[in-house]
Point group: C2
DNA sequence: AATAAGAACGTGTACGTTAACGAAAATCAG
DNA sequence: CTGATTTTCGTTAACGTACACGTTCTTATT
């Protein structure tokens, strides 16, 4: 439609109009020192008038430095393969933008060991990155780290779980409350009135509770909102080994067998194994994440529903958002909630993380 | 890990090693004329040895020409808003790569009018684009068009439905057979033995049959594979207006009321309306696409399942794949099947196209 | 053998930006 | 008011590639 700007707008066009040199224009654009307030204002005005957008390609070419991004996520443990998916997503994004002067380094920490997290944080801060992609599993430690980042003007993107009051560039991941709410929704679908429901949190570090609690909240909120007379119990299991889970559940089930169990994370396979090995029937099971071990139980009917939130896409979008921000693209959506997918026996074959 | 190549590999490093000028290297890289076989081979060898990757940013900068892409998709009609989603996806991708010297123009055709399709094709061919993004709804016409593209070395990407024997850069969209197969899967879940199932194809142009038939095939294949004694009927409705649909269905239902209806495209809302207005109960309904009109019926229980395949992502990835190809990025996945999502009353709130 | 024609190759400038280097102007100390 | 700083600004060489133009070299024609 429009045919204006034949005079190839750019830094030198700005210079011409402002009657200064391109050097000066460059200084105000990258707000470096050494330009008087008066001329700075003048240049800024011209820039605004022209709606000037810097040519990113020329920029990358000239400043031969590459953008360095550090990704800090949990290591793929033998306990759960969950983090394979985000890892893959980040890698995919990284290879797509490698040509554009971006390099991404991975740092892994042990989900059961805060110290590894802290150590990696220190290393990252020492290594002079331009941006951070982070899964803030340990809330307190993450806050510390992010404070440090903020002090150094280091932009960061959060994935998988959010820290709402941090000045993050973006959060990409589940809306935990809604996710639990949906589980509640499904529960209403599966249980009748006056039946019993058990919420199970399995996690070593109490800090996880932040993550799990939000889901629990949503779950309870949904059930409460429709005031069915459903009894809701709850158990926290601080040991992730199967034996520990089994023992704890045996005690509980002896006292009182629930009609439905809601496991607030991907450890649902432990509960499934428990149900299967002890030949407990008539207990419905809802849990999280598209993992091999979970799918097996979904297939044989022990698990009824898995809730999944595109872990791979979280990684992909996480890195991409950070990149977009770093090249000062106009805007990055600050809150990118992933869809809440329901996986069942019927459609798991067609799901893609 | 590696610390080699401090000598900034690039066109001039190649020139140095091959003892020629950068001009010559440039000629062989862009295989222009004017270089002897002997030196060409020598240069190519050096290029291979260095594993030289051209600097895309420098390339775009130097050749100030922008990559021009034409997208040809159906217009958003008042009959169905489906194509809003791919359109949005394409736009999203376009704005992400606008900074990198890419411009995308849209061309729309009327789904009920082959001529509009042909006309737009002609216009596109005349306008000298560098790549085409196409929804090949009209099989025959699309083939013609794509033959012409191939003749001009115009790369193209197909979305939404595939033409398998065309030399497309990529296809991004549903695996239609699998999609129908899943519908069959769900059907088995919903109907009992000896019940009746009706397949409904609603579409004006017979050429669509290509698209719809594949789904039907998959559907039948699934039912056949598990030899339940389910009776499968079928009806083709060539008129998309509600009145036409109603009339045809009335006739059919008078003779024989099916227990489940499978509509092979997004027109499922017409059938839902029919069922509702005529107060027909006990008929399950499966159809396609996350559209407002469909969701309404999903919500009130008239439609049981909607199958959806990320139309927006199809657009996004379609444009991105084409772009990646045009800047001669290493590889583009040639077949990108979208996941087959199942939307129900329980999770539609959380679905994202 | 002289010349034209064309193939093969080199040179130089441009793309829009960054950043280092100085020159000019303004400010300050005495 | 002079000299020394400091602030402000202009100039210029890159970055890696594309492309127009010029030059040299080869071959064919007369």
């Amino acid at each position: 439609m429009k045919k204006e700007q034949e005079t190839t707008k750019g830094i030198k066009e700005i210079a011409r109009l402002a009657k200064v040199s391109i050097g000066t224009v460059d200084r105000v654009i990258n707000n470096r020192t050494g330009v008087s307030v008066k001329t700075k204002e003048k240049v800024l005005q011209i820039i605004a008038e022209l709606d000037y957008q810097p040519n990113i390609m020329a920029r990358m070419l000239a400043s031969k430095k590459v953008i360095r991004i550090a990704a800090l996520i949990p290591a793929v443990s033998n306990e759960t393969g969950y983090w394979n998916a985000p890892l893959k997503g980040i890698n995919e994004a990284a290879s797509e933008i490698r040509n554009f002067g971006v390099s991404a380094d991975f740092y892994f920490f042990d989900q059961n060991n805060k110290k590894t997290f802290r150590d990696q944080c220190a290393v990252i801060l020492d290594n002079g990155y331009d941006g951070i992609l982070l899964a803030p599993m340990f809330e307190e430690e993450a806050m510390d780290f992010l404070d440090n980042c903020a002090k150094r003007d280091l932009p960061f993107v959060l994935i998988n779980s959010d820290l709402e009051h941090q000045p993050r560039v973006a959060y990409i991941g589940p809306d935990l409350f809604q996710s639990g709410y949906l589980a509640g929704h499904l529960t209403k679908y599966l249980v009748k009135e006056a039946q019993q429901v058990l919420i199970v949190n399995i996690s070593r570090e109490i800090t996880f509770q932040h993550h799990l609690l939000k889901k629990e909240e949503g779950f309870r909120a949904c059930l409460a909102a429709h005031d069915l007379s459903i009894e809701v119990g709850k158990v926290d299991i601080n040991e992730t080994s199967y034996d520990a889970v089994q023992q704890r559940l045996l005690e509980l089930f002896d006292l009182n067998k629930p009609d439905l169990v809601f496991v607030t994370n991907s450890r649902v396979s432990s509960v499934a194994r428990f149900l299967q090995e002890n030949a407990i029937e008539g207990v419905q099971l809802i849990g999280y994440d598209f993992l091999e071990e979970n799918i097996a139980y979904l297939k044989n009917g022990t698990i009824d529903f898995l809730i999944c939130q595109k872990p791979q896409e979280q990684g992909y979008r996480g890195l991409m958002s950070l990149y977009q921000h770093l090249i000062s693209a106009p805007t990055v959506e600050q809150l990118q909630y992933m869809p809440i997918d329901i996986i069942t026996k019927e459609n798991y074959l067609y799901y893609r993380n």
